[in-house]
Symmetry: C2
Subunit: 106 residues, 2 copies
Amino acid sequence: MKKGLTEICYKFFNNLANPTRLATLEKLMEKPMSVTELAAALGQEQSMISHNLKPLLKCNFVFIEKQGKKSIYSANQETIGTLFKAVEVHAEKYCPTGGKCLKEAN
Amino acid sequence: MKKGLTEICYKFFNNLANPTRLATLEKLMEKPMSVTELAAALGQEQSMISHNLKPLLKCNFVFIEKQGKKSIYSANQETIGTLFKAVEVHAEKYCPTGGKCLKEAN
DNA sequence: TATTCATATGAATTATAATTCATTTGATAG
DNA sequence: CTATCAAATGAATTATAATTCATATGAATA
């Protein structure tokens, strides 16, 4: 691991460590969507989706394409796909309780 | 991505979204160490290292082996290696400023 | 079995991030 | 050019997490 990558990693994982952003990414992995569509699909306020898309966009976890007054967002399939896969692999091998541990207090 | 993995992902990334824990993992990727050694290597208080090792251990990002009064921690090379590599690959392709964006305000 | 070393824990404080609500900007259509 | 729809922004509030400090546990040794 190169020097300084810890800092990048922090920003990187911090960006992903949010339920709204993860749900947004999960939706966008299915297909590109507008902000309004995302808000409807996730049952969240439009402003909240916008706020959360911003950091995802900044780190290129999602891409934007403006279509008239709409902004169509799409997921970075390469990066997000790799990460979700990595979590899946880890969980399968190292979370024998199937996420039961998540319910407990820290 | 399986149903319910969003929740697991949240816990997963949340666990990694911390500078102390990332620095700890980076150190442990080099070689197994005791809590005291880690504290010295990172210039942090022992209690802080212990506090931060706890969630890493819980998700099996690190492993523990007790040697007398010492606790020797080691990294889960498989998972952490994969993740760090993924960040590296992403950063190389999608962070053209070389992390310069990290300095700016959100 | 008292003492020391290593680690873990609890609880309070401090710092950081998420969410909401009001408002603004930008684009298109009437 | 003004009304409407879509998205973005700002600022205040609320929620979460990190850090510190004091203390407790547990193992080894004199």
